[in-house]
């Protein structure tokens, strides 16, 4: 187990390095006009000096090595344009808490709504409630999120009598973004929990429990639900870590001062150090989420062992 973990973490670090290198190279492909707000008026010499100051004239490998050396010292650099000369870590630490609060709230909502929905759909399979739930899932999956977010904003703000723009201090303003963020996950949890529970309910141990005279509700929740939840638990750490990143679409729709819109903004502003910092955060979240998800599965289900699983995959 320990050996496996060591290998796994080592590999994750390697993945991170490769991702950062790729993004680093991609960033250097961006047109240089974007670095200077008044490019047309500048002489070639001024441009050259400007590029040199940013360290962009060095050969690519030199730049990459320099970047990773700084990274090892924990130095992500300073923002150049977005908030000039403020360290990247400081900019991020202002933004992350807002996104986390929003994300955690929406995660709680989606688990509290999605899991009971899936369980009830499995319990009343092929009956009215199941069909209603399926209709909801199909709609959420088939209609692009961009469309229903807009309508939630449009009519939600009228119903709740709130403004279009976000007010961080007023709890009423949190309702719509949290709701929009949760809908997709509610459908996800509902759909898969129903699927896993239906699969589980055909197994022998369920028949035995029923034959012993365990009540219908008891079988559903003590036996089936606990087994069906294991594969879903894998996604929970990722979902939790994703709250750090925030949702680009929702945060910019409601102008929430979180992480979401930041990536787009800094890419457009050619703020390379910021982009690298954010990509590092995104990639860490992704890699760590997978790792924790697998660990959580092992904790919940003693039959799974990580060392063996690798061979199967």
């Amino acid at each position: 187990m320990l050996k496996y973990l060591g290998k796994r973490i080592g590999r994750s670090v390697l993945t991170l390095v490769i991702i950062l290198t790729i993004v680093f190279c991609l960033l250097r492909l961006m047109p240089i006009e974007g670095y200077f707000p008044n490019f047309e008026k500048m002489t070639p010499q001024q441009i050259q000096v400007g590029l040199q100051e940013m360290g962009l004239t060095d050969p690519l490998p030199v730049q990459i090595v320099r970047f990773f050396k700084d990274l090892l010292k924990g130095d992500l650099g300073t923002s150049r344009i977005y908030r000039a000369n403020v360290p990247v870590t400081e900019v991020l630490s202002d933004k992350v808490p807002v996104s986390i609060k929003l994300g955690v709230l929406s995660m709680i909502v989606s688990l509290c709504a999605g899991l009971p929905m899936g369980a009830l759909m499995a319990r009343y399979k092929f009956r009215f409630f199941d069909k209603l739930g399926t209709l909801f899932i199909v709609c959420i999956q088939a209609i692009p999120a961009a469309v229903y977010y807009l309508y939630i904003q449009l009519y939600g703000t009228q119903i709740l009598n709130v403004g279009l723009l976000f007010d961080i201090k007023n709890p009423k303003y949190w309702v719509l973004p949290v709701l929009s963020m949760s809908l997709n996950n509610i459908a996800f949890y509902g759909m898969w929990l129903r699927r896993y529970m239906v699969d589980e309910s055909n197994k022998d141990y369920v028949k035995l429990a029923k034959a012993k005279g365990v009540s219908e509700g008891g079988v559903m929740f003590r036996h089936i639900f606990r087994n069906a939840f294991v594969p879903l638990a894998q996604y929970i750490p990722t979902a939790f870590l994703n709250t750090v990143i925030g949702s680009i679409y929702i945060e910019s729709l409601y102008s929430i001062p979180g992480m979401g819109g930041l990536l787009v903004t800094v890419i457009k502003k050619h703020d390379n150090t910021m982009v690298q910092g954010i990509v590092l955060l995104y990639a860490c979240v992704g890699v760590l989420g997978l790792l924790l998800g697998d660990l959580l599965m092992v904790l919940l289900d003693p039959r799974i062992s990580l060392g063996k699983k690798e061979g199967d995959r």
């Binding site: 993004v23 069909k131 088939a142 692009p144 469309v147 239906v198 990536l263």
Partner: protein, 338 residues
């Protein structure tokens, strides 16, 4: 998913029904009939020896039974046809021309009426023409992404699953690509390259193909060592022939489903990229562009038609593809054939 379950349910009930009918028939026969020798009947012998089962025939028959999906398919086909016919109909405006009245003033924000079927937008372009041009663009993007992803994904996926030596390398590649968030790639690529239809398609395929390949690979791993494949290998069938004749036909239903779901996803992505300002320029109308223009007018209820009409078309297209895809993949699954 649910459709599949209920469909199978129906089939089972049907089967049970026919079995009961058969046993009733048997009861109806008198005892003498039951215990006397049957006469040789050439037609009966032929019936068991030959089955006129055809895979595609059964698939289409099963698909046609799903009335809702067929209706949607017809509607979607008509819509697609209309997007191509519309520019040639009489009395249409060019989607990019700003229409002026007799005094040279622009028709700004004209509500839907006689002159403009769906009204005009804030700079005086005909919304009706723009919606159809936009649907054309968006459908083109969706279909191209789906086809390109399927081609690359299936090729790589089959090799990945079937050739053991490739498995290690491709799995490592997958681990890396899968960990880079899709959004970053989409944004970076659409920013570096010139905005346009081709850029969007390229950016979406860049990350999409590996998901398809991974999916095919997992399916191939499940069936690659089944007895019929082992038998083929023992008989010396070339590898490519096993891939094309033994493995791929097995996967038709899941591939179709994936493709049908890629189209709405690609159209949705286009809306998203346009929303963050990296999508198509305004002179190439697309559903993303139109929705974005409509969103800017969200505060004035009188102009809301500019948001409502494009979203109706967009939702209709995506829901249709979703439902048709699910219905077709159910129909293409031989387990659902009679």
């Amino acid at each position: 998913m649910m459709k599949q379950f209920s469909y199978r349910h129906e089939k089972e009930a049907e089967l049970m029904g026919s079995m009961e009918a058969a046993s009733k028939n048997a009861c109806a026969m008198s005892e003498e009939e039951l215990f006397s020798f049957a006469e040789f009947n050439a037609a009966d012998v032929e019936r068991t020896g030959y089955s006129n089962y055809s895979y595609w025939g059964s698939t289409f028959r099963a698909f046609l039974k799903n009335k809702a999906a067929v209706a949607l398919l017809v509607l979607l086909g008509l819509l697609l046809l209309f997007t191509f016919i519309q520019p040639y109909l009489p009395g249409q405006y060019d989607p990019n021309i700003i229409v002026n009245d007799a005094n040279g003033m622009q028709y700004r924000n004209v509500p839907p009426g006689d002159m403009f079927i769906l009204g005009t937008n804030s700079i005086g372009q005909d919304l009706w023409a723009r919606i159809w041009a936009g649907t054309r663009t968006s459908l083109f993007i969706g279909l191209s992404v789906a086809v390109a992803e399927a081609l690359i994904g299936i090729t790589v996926g089959v090799i990945w699953g079937y050739v053991r030596k490739a498995d290690f390398i491709l799995t490592e590649v997958y681990n890396i690509i899968d960990n880079i968030p899709n959004t970053i790639i989409l944004i970076l690529v659409s920013y570096i390259l010139k905005p346009g239809v081709k850029t969007l398609i390229f950016a979406m395929c860049l990350t999409g193909w590996i998901q398809m390949a991974r999916f095919i690979r997992n399916q191939i791993l499940i069936i690659r060592d089944r007895d019929y494949n082992v038998a083929s290998r023992c008989l010396g069938t070339p590898t490519w022939r096993i891939m094309v004749r033994n493995l791929l036909p097995y996967l038709v239903s899941v591939i179709m489903l994936r493709m049908a779901l890629t189209i709405p996803a690609a159209i949705g992505n286009e809306v998203f990229i346009t929303y963050i300002g990296l999508g198509l320029p305004v002179d190439i109308p697309s559903l993303g562009n139109l929705i974005n223009e409509g969103r800017a007018l969200i505060t004035s209820p009188a102009l809301r038609y500019q948001l409502v009409y494009p979203t109706i078309i967009l939702s209709f297209v995506t829901i249709s593809f979703y439902i048709i895809g699910n219905a077709f993949s159910d129909a293409a699954d031989p387990k659902n054939h009679v």
